[in-house]
Symmetry: C2
Subunit: 162 residues, 2 copies
């Protein structure tokens, strides 16, 4: 049972694939899709979509999870992020993967134990929980692993969302 977590970003989109073995989870693959500078939004979206398609093709996960974008502070960044999230959801849907969506506080709670953890604490816990040899970089990647971990933890509780 492989779960793909995606952390959408306008410049860097992190991904993490974890194997869910009952109560334990381990990282199978992860990385960052970095959009070259200077591209316009449509080209950036194509770059991200192609990247996610490649990840799906390579790992063949059976479910995907993303973060909600609706609680972002900066409205303009959140709009751009929603475009990226749109193409991420599309890639998952076209690959036939159900996609779950979690609030940032849910993800932090499931990984760190409380909803106000910062990204570095999330990375530290992800490293421990997934048995990684070293902390992954950049933080977009640990965030992607965190949303996959959150989904692995909560999916049995019936949290699979639209």
């Amino acid at each position: 049972m492989l779960i793909l977590g995606i952390d959408c970003g306008s410049r860097v989109t992190g991904y993490g694939v974890i194997e869910s073995l009952g109560r334990t989870q381990r990282a199978v693959g992860y990385g960052a899709i970095r959009v070259p500078a200077g591209k316009d939004l449509a080209d950036r979206l194509r770059f991200v979509a192609d990247g996610i398609d490649e990840v799906v093709e390579r790992f063949r996960p059976s479910e995907a999870a993303v973060e909600d974008v609706f609680q972002h502070r900066n409205v303009s960044s959140a709009f751009t992020l929603a475009h990226v999230r749109g193409v991420a959801l599309l890639s998952a849907a076209r690959a036939g993967l159900p996609v779950a969506s979690y609030a940032p506080t849910q993800i932090k709670s499931s990984v760190v134990g409380h909803g106000t953890a910062d990204k570095h604490q999330v990375r530290q816990m992800v490293t421990l929980l997934l048995g990684l040899q070293e902390e992954v970089k950049p933080l977009d990647v640990s965030d992607a692993l965190a949303v996959a971990y959150c989904h692995a933890s909560l999916r049995n509780a019936g949290a699979l969302a639209g």
Copy 2:
């Protein structure tokens, strides 16, 4: 020279293809991609993306134009719209079409002559300007034709955007 205008919506996405013949424009095709009720966001996005891909395949336009979403009143609807706009931009980019983006006021100005026109006035003018036999329905379709018309009018003024 065919231009595809897209009016993104969470339930209905309008499209309009116009042929730009110097100073005159005529409608070549138009319609609405209606997402069946009850689908989750990822499936809705797939439905819209497949619909736009079909339109592009059928008409083979050489440029596309969409409306900005950044001035929407309702933030939650605007986020959903940004997801749809993301997959619309992706479809265009994957088809190799440059995509221009226009503010609602620009579109209204170019079609009606002032930026505060309502959607019915836009439809009335689009009907006249594109030589249509009758008013198109729903308003998402006339809005899509309007953004295509706006692009046809402004592209020679160097308005092609990212």
